[in-house]
């Protein structure tokens, strides 16, 4: 006679817990650092048309470090992600167009004339070449 395997209660609970964690935190890259989110919404930092973050006001050493880190990671992502036939700079620029479009009201972004603007309900002022 074949004995049927029955998972024990604790095993089921462990499987369920693992699945739940997996759903809440898919990967380390998937969520913004709370300090980054805070600096964005406080308007200390903003999106530039180049596809990188910039400082709206003189940053604290912690914010400076945070932005430097993110910009290095962005550069790496642009470098590995730039499709054939395009440069890293071009890919970063088009991503920057999208990032400025995605800013939330209250967040800062840099207009083509170099001014830092605060996003409101109206469409942002972007480079004319943006899609």
């Amino acid at each position: 006679m074949v004995k049927q395997w029955k998972p024990a209660g604790w095993a089921m609970a462990a499987i369920a817990a693992t699945a739940a964690i997996g759903m809440v935190v898919p990967s380390a890259m998937a969520q913004r650092d709370p300090a980054y989110e805070a600096a964005r919404s406080a308007g200390q930092i903003g999106e530039e048309p180049t596809g990188y973050l910039g400082f709206v006001s003189t940053p604290t050493p912690a914010v400076r470090q945070l932005v430097t880190d993110i910009n290095i990671k962005r550069k790496a992502a642009y470098t590995s992600g730039a499709p054939q036939g395009s440069t890293v700079e071009q890919f970063a620029f088009v991503t920057g167009c999208n990032l400025i479009a995605k800013t939330k009201p209250g967040e800062k972004y840099k207009a083509p004339d170099g001014r830092w603007l605060t996003r409101d309900a109206s469409p942002p002022v972007r480079d004319t070449r943006c899609p």
Binding site: A30, R74, G81, F91, F93, V94, N98, R129
Partner: protein
């Protein structure tokens, strides 16, 4: 010699600084989908 003061009229329109990047419109549209995907897949850094 006249005074050392030079009057400069301030422009009433903001000066447009063009990002020094060479990109054709067809490349912009080609890269747009990839850019959106990149942002989605790396939301922690964007």
């Amino acid at each position: 010699m006249l005074g050392g003061c030079v009057q400069i009229a301030t422009p009433d329109k903001p000066i447009e600084i063009n990002l020094n990047i060479n990109i054709k419109q067809e490349i912009v549209y080609k890269l747009d989908g990839d850019a959106k995907k990149l942002i989605e897949q790396n939301s922690g850094i964007f």
